[in-house]
C-alpha cells in the first residue's frame, strides 16, 4: 500500500496497522534526509500549513514546525493566548478565518476532547491532531513506537509498560492503540486513582506495583504527572508519588535484565523519573525527540498525497 486510508490524522484508533507501517517506512527515508548536509526537500512547496495551538506546547509545536519547514511548506502559527479566541470567537469561526487565507492543512492542539474530529466535519483542509485534551496524541504514539522499532528491531511481541498518570494522559491512550495494532503487549501502571476504571476493556494489563511492572516489561514509557489537569488530589504528595512510582537507577539495577526507558517530555525530574535514569544509557528520550521530526514529516507528506 502506498497511500493512507484517511485524509486526516485524528487519532491512532482510526488508522490501520498498514497505515502505521507506511508512516514508519516513509519516516525511515525522512530520517536519512535529516542526516544530509542540506536537510530539506521540496515536496510540500505548494502547501500552506497552519499550526493552531489552543493549548501550550513547546516540543510538539517546534517539532511540527521543523517538519513542515524541512518539507518546504509555508507555515503560519497561531496560539490562542494572544488571539481573538479571548474575545469570544468560536472554534469553527477561528479556523474558517484562517482557511480563507488559503491554508491546505491544519495542525491543531486543543484542550477539548474531540475538537479536531468536530473540525474535520466542518472544513475541507487535512487535519492533524497534535493533542486533544486527555484523548489522543497520535504523532507522539507514532514516534514512540518508531523509537521502539529502531531500538529493538520490531514492536511486535514486545512488552511495554506505561507508567504514571494514565487518567489524564492522551499519550497513554494513543500509545495503547498504536502498540496493540503493531502486536505489542501493553501494561499500564500507576496509583489506583490515576488508572481509569474501564481501561481493561482495551485489553491492557493493569499493575499498581512499579517493581512488578518493570520486571515484566521490555520497555518502560514513563509519563508525566499532569498537575495542571488535576482538579482534585489523586495522591497525598509529590514526594510520596516519587517514593512509590519514581523510576531511579537503584530500581533498575535490581532487575535481571536491561529495559528501554522512554518519556514523552517534559520530564519532572525527581518526580516520575530521576536524572540518573533520564540521562542514563538505557534512556532513548532524546532519540524520541529526533524521531519526532521524521515521523511528523512522514505524516504531513502522506496526508498531502491523499486525494
Amino acid at each position: 500500500m502506498q497511500q493512507l486510508s484517511t485524509r486526516h490524522l485524528l487519532g491512532i484508533k482510526d488508522i490501520t496497522a498498514e497505515d502505521i507501517q507506511l508512516i514508519f517506512e516513509t519516516a525511515d527515508n525522512f530520517k536519512e534526509v535529516l542526516n544530509r548536509p542540506i536537510k530539506k526537500v521540496p515536496s510540500l512547496r505548494d502547501i500552506t500549513i497552519a499550526n493552531i495551538f489552543f493549548e501550550n506546547s513547546t516540543r510538539t509545536k517546534l517539532s511540527f514546525e521543523l517538519a513542515e519547514k524541512r518539507l518546504s511548506a509555508d507555515v503560519v502559527n497561531f496560539s490562542s493566548s494572544n488571539s481573538s479566541v479571548k474575545k469570544g470567537e468560536t472554534l469553527v469561526d477561528t479556523v474558517n478565518n484562517i482557511l480563507s487565507m488559503k491554508v491546505d492543512m491544519v495542525v491543531m492542539r486543543h484542550s477539548s476532547v474531540g475538537a479536531p474530529h468536530y473540525l474535520s466535519r466542518k472544513i475541507q483542509a487535512n487535519i492533524v491532531n497534535a493533542g486533544d485534551g486527555t484523548h489522543e496524541h497520535p504523532t507522539q504514539a507514532l514516534l514512540d513506537a518508531f523509537s521502539i522499532r529502531e531500538k529493538l528491531g520490531d514492536v511486535a511481541g514486545k512488552k511495554v509498560a506505561i507508567i504514571g498518570d494514565i487518567l489524564h494522559s492522551r499519550v497513554a491512550l494513543s500509545n495503547i492503540f498504536a502498540l496493540q495494532k503493531l502486536g505489542a503487549e501493553v501494561m499500564v501502571c500507576g496509583p489506583i486513582t490515576l488508572i481509569p476504571k474501564y481501561i481493561t476493556s482495551l485489553g491492557v494489563r493493569v499493575e499498581h506495583d512499579v517493581r512488578k511492572a518493570l520486571a515484566w516489561c521490555d520497555v518502560a514509557n514513563i509519563l508525566r504527572i499532569q498537575l495542571e489537569r488535576q482538579q482534585i488530589k489523586y495522591f497525598p504528595s509529590l514526594r510520596e508519588y516519587s517514593l512509590y512510582y519514581g523510576i531511579n537507577k537503584k530500581l533498575l539495577s535490581q532487575l535481571d535484565k536491561e529495559i528501554v526507558i522512554m518519556h514523552p517530555g517534559p520530564i519532572n525530574r525527581g518526580v516520575e523519573l530521576n536524572s540518573d535514569v533520564a540521562d542514563g544509557p538505557h534512556s532513548i528520550i532524546l532519540n524520541q525527540v529526533e524521531n519526532g521530526v521524521a515521523i511528523r514529516m512522514a505524516v504531513l507528506y502522506l496526508l498531502a498525497s491523499v486525494k
Partner: protein
C-alpha cells in the same frame, strides 16, 4: 503488436563493457569521480557498471543510490502516490565529478529531480548522465545523456522493460513492451 527484444544477455554485456571503457577514457583512474544510481530502477544497472568498472580498473569505485521521490514535480498530481526508496550516499560529492546512472531516459523529469536531490550532498565539479536506453524524441526538458547504451524509437503507448537476473529472471533482457 508484439513485444520487441532490444538487448539480450550477450548484447547487454558488450554494451556495459563498452560504456565502462568510455568512462575510463574520460575519467582515468576515477580518483575524483563517483557513481550515483537513481532509485529504484537505475540501481541494478548502476551496480553492473560499478562491478565491470572495478574489474577493468582493479579497485572499487564509489557508488551511491539516490531516491528522487521527494523531489518529483508531479507530487499531488499523480493518480497514485509513489513510495519512496532508500537513499544511500556514503560520500560527499563536493568538487567531485558525478556520473548519474539510470536505466531508461524518457521525459527527463526524473533526471531533473535527481539533479535537485543531488545538490543536498554538495556542489559537484561536474555532472554527467549515463543511461542504458535512450527513448528518442520524447523529452519534456532539455536533458541529454553523455553515455548511451542504445537509443531507440518508441511510441507513447509503449514502455521499456528491463529484466535483471537479480529480480529472479533467468537472464538479463531489455524489452520494448506495449502498455496494458
Amino acid at each position: 503488436m508484439q513485444d520487441r527484444l532490444i538487448l539480450d544477455q550477450q548484447q547487454l554485456d558488450i554494451t556495459i563493457s563498452r560504456m565502462c571503457h568510455q568512462l575510463v577514457e574520460l575519467h582515468d583512474d576515477f580518483a575524483d569521480t563517483v557513481l550515483l544510481g537513481l532509485q529504484p530502477r537505475g540501481k541494478l544497472f548502476a551496480k553492473r557498471i560499478q562491478t565491470r568498472l572495478s574489474e577493468i580498473l582493479g579497485h572499487e569505485i564509489p557508488l551511491g543510490f539516490l531516491d528522487i521521490t521527494f523531489h518529483r514535480d508531479d507530487f499531488r498530481r499523480r493518480e497514485s502516490p509513489l513510495k519512496a526508496n532508500a537513499t544511500e550516499v556514503n560520500f560527499i560529492i563536493e568538487e567531485k565529478k558525478v556520473v548519474l546512472i539510470d536505466d531508461v531516459l524518457y521525459t527527463g523529469r526524473s533526471v531533473r529531480a535527481a539533479l535537485d536531490a543531488m545538490i543536498a550532498f554538495g556542489r559537484p565539479a561536474k555532472v554527467e548522465l549515463m543511461v542504458l536506453i535512450d527513448r528518442k524524441y520524447t523529452r519534456h526538458l532539455p536533458i541529454e545523456p553523455d553515455y548511451t547504451g542504445k537509443a531507440v524509437n518508441t511510441l507513447a503507448s509503449q514502455n521499456v522493460a528491463a529484466e535483471w537476473r537479480e529480480q529472479g529472471f533467468e537472464s538479463d533482457n531489455i524489452w520494448i513492451k506495449h502498455k496494458i
